[in-house]
């Protein structure tokens, strides 16, 4: 559930003040982890909260972790350099706190009439069309309880955060090399 605009910054920027960020960029070829959503819309900021934890997790030291408002065309450059991509987003179609993991079909057709931001399949298609890159892409989504104005997560989604981290770590451990 992307809203607003993409962005970038440095490790350590506050995840609760509407500032997007990223961990130091490793040499190309590692895992790319992107948490996205609107950090000022309660559970829609799930991707930011998860990414901020993942950026500090020593098990993901070689990964490039990014948190931003939405998927933008520029991110296709990072996707093309990655060996694995994990996208973390909130979902209003699932039970609050429920975690689902799906692997994107790399051949998925994608089209977009709106180019300020992209859907996951469009981001992947852009990297494929422009740089011939087709890394495995996983989408980790978490059901939301609240999308009201606010910079904190609902109790159900907050409780799910450790499991989200473990799910991403497991994906990277299995597919990241």
């Amino acid at each position: 559930m992307a809203a607003g605009d993409g962005g970038g910054g440095e490790r350590g920027t506050s995840r609760n003040t509407g500032e997007s960020g990223e961990s130091p960029r490793p040499a190309s070829g590692g895992a790319l982890i992107v948490g996205y959503g609107n950090a000022l819309r309660s559970d829609d900021g799930l991707g930011w909260h998860a990414a901020a934890r993942l950026a500090e997790d020593p098990r993901l030291a070689g990964a490039h972790v990014v948190w931003q408002h939405q998927l933008t065309p520029e991110l296709a450059v990072d996707v093309s350099n990655a060996s694995l991509v994990v996208l973390i987003d909130a979902s209003d179609g699932e039970e609050a706190g429920a975690i689902s993991v799906r692997r994107l079909d790399p051949t998925l057709a994608a089209g977009s009439a709106w180019s300020h931001h992209l859907e996951p399949a469009e981001l992947v298609a852009l990297a494929r069309e422009l740089w011939g890159a087709s890394p495995p892409v996983f989408v980790v989504s978490v059901g939301v309880a609240s999308l009201d104005v606010g910079d904190s997560l609902s109790p159900a989604v907050e409780r799910a955060l450790p499991a989200v981290v473990e799910a991403v770590v497991a994906i990277v451990a299995e597919h990241g090399h």
Binding site: S20, E74, W114, S115
Partner: protein
């Protein structure tokens, strides 16, 4: 029985709007309105805030061009403090403003408009988008992404972050430039120039097939306004207002931006949240003028950098000294981008660009301040009044899309007249109405303080108010 067509929402622009087209008894188009249907109200919500907060608050108007609002707002607060930033502070503001224009122009041309130009206005929308562009002309798509990324990196490195940067503050800049960052930006200049020059070469070849289209694509007589420097070059940060008429005759020159209220009026229509500005001496609604890249290349004597001036000469040879068709915004936007890149390089190579003297400090010394600069879409004006403690009492923003409001309405009317036959909304008409608005790259978030993407709805309405046709997407 007169009738009306409504397009609601309009797509691939920033913000929400709809279009109504009025028909007369014989089915001829008699009028068209571009309605902006969302409201945000930054001029009101900032009342009562300390004036030093204004740049940070105003940057939140838009996620596409927050730097433009930061720059104009900081200049307005400089005026209230009665200070000038040190020269290096002003130059760093210039660089970040130019980086902002590069990334926004790239978004407009490569991501939003190039699919129309590459595939044609009537191509299947499933193909006529950035993914289709990547398949058909990957170099063009890569160049667009690279230019936008480079512009965003300049904003991030000079301003602290890509969206809503914080280092542009009243009195100058919060952080000096380091040699490492300067060299990193400079390293990207050759590829940025190559990317935009490839796009210009492609556009010049491609535009031949659009010459007839351009003649009815928002092609009308109007004035143009932009900032120019002492020598008459384009100036995106400072300088004087210059206004020319459709024949290139000066209507005003060397106008101190602080005096803009003497020249520009703002009208409000009941059918839109977007104000219509007009040139006062010509009255409303006759005082129509345009701003933005097309105005900048029309108004200035020169761009002021060698490569862009060379392209400007070719532009004028092809489309005339004063280009009247809104279609040429695209061409002008590329030349504007080329100039911005050259100017960034020149400023970065300045001998004092690494100076740490970048901030002037002062308290509230005036009760009123005005800041004017060129944003990607045109001239941007911030005007504030404060009490003796620096608390904001009143704010007025005159935004590029507001300057262009009457022109966009005129452009929609011309396209509708050319394409509407009978009482049905046709797909070619719908596509062109959207595309002509997109030439102006309107940012409705800025102009009405609204958030969201532009969706399109057209209604065809008869003289008695009957909706004859209604199309939304």
């Amino acid at each position: 029985m007169s009738r009306e067509i409504v397009i609601d929402p309009v797509t691939r622009i920033e913000g929400h709007s709809k279009i109504t087209i009025q028909l007369d008894d014989r089915g001829e188009v008699v009028d068209a309105h571009f309605h902006v249907t969302q409201f945000r109200g930054f001029e009101r919500i900032t009342q009562g805030r300390p004036v030093h907060e204004m740049p940070a608050i105003m940057a939140r108007i838009c996620g596409i061009c927050p730097v433009s609002h930061l720059v104009a707002s900081a200049k307005a607060v400089d005026d209230i403090l009665a200070v000038e930033p040190p020269p290096t502070g002003a130059d760093l503001r210039r660089i970040i403003n130019l980086g902002q224009i590069v990334q926004s122009n790239a978004l407009s041309f490569f991501h939003l408009s190039a699919p129309d130009l590459l595939f044609g206005f009537d191509a299947d929308p499933a193909k006529r988008n950035i993914i289709g562009l990547a398949r058909e002309n990957p170099q063009l798509a890569r160049d667009g992404i690279a230019l936008r990324k480079w512009g965003q990196e300049i904003i991030e490195w000079l301003g602290g972050k890509r969206i809503h940067p914080t280092w542009i503050i009243p009195g100058g800049m919060a952080k000096p430039l380091t040699a490492e960052v300067r060299d990193r930006i400079l390293a990207g200049v050759p590829e940025a120039i190559a990317a935009v020059e490839r796009a210009i070469a492609w556009y010049k070849t491609d535009m031949v097939r659009w010459e007839e289209e351009a003649s009815t694509f928002g092609n009308f007589r109007s004035a143009f306004m932009a900032l120019v420097d002492r020598e008459g070059n384009v100036d995106h940060y400072d300088g004087w207002l210059r206004v020319i008429d459709a024949d290139g005759k000066l209507l005003a020159d060397r106008v101190d931006p602080h005096d803009f209220n003497d020249y520009i009026g703002e009208a409000v229509e009941p059918w839109s949240y977007l104000k219509s500005t007009y040139w006062k001496s010509m009255g409303y609604p006759d005082g129509i003028y345009r701003v933005g890249p097309l105005a900048r290349v029309n108004v200035a004597d020169r761009m002021g950098t060698p490569r862009a001036d060379e392209e400007l000469e070719k532009f004028r040879w092809r489309v005339g000294r004063v280009a009247g068709s809104s279609f040429h915004y695209h061409y002008a936007r590329l030349i504007d981008t080329l100039h911005c890149i050259e100017k960034i390089e020149a400023l970065l190579r300045g001998p004092d660009i690494l100076s740490t003297h970048i901030l002037s400090r002062a308290g509230v010394n005036r009760n009123e301040g005005i800041g004017v600069s060129e944003a990607p879409r045109g001239t941007l004006m911030h005007h504030y009044k404060v009490d003796d403690d620096g608390i904001v009492l009143w704010a007025n923003l005159v935004i590029a899309t507001g300057h262009n409001n009457m022109a966009m309405n005129r452009a929609v009317l011309q396209v509708a007249r050319h394409h509407i036959k009978g009482d049905k909304i046709t797909e070619p008409m719908l596509n062109r109405v959207e595309a002509v608005i997109r030439c102006y790259d309107p940012c409705l978030s800025c102009s009405t303080h609204a958030l969201g993407k532009m969706a399109l709805r057209i209604q065809l309405v008869g003289p008695d108010g009957t909706v004859l046709d209604d199309l939304a997407r």
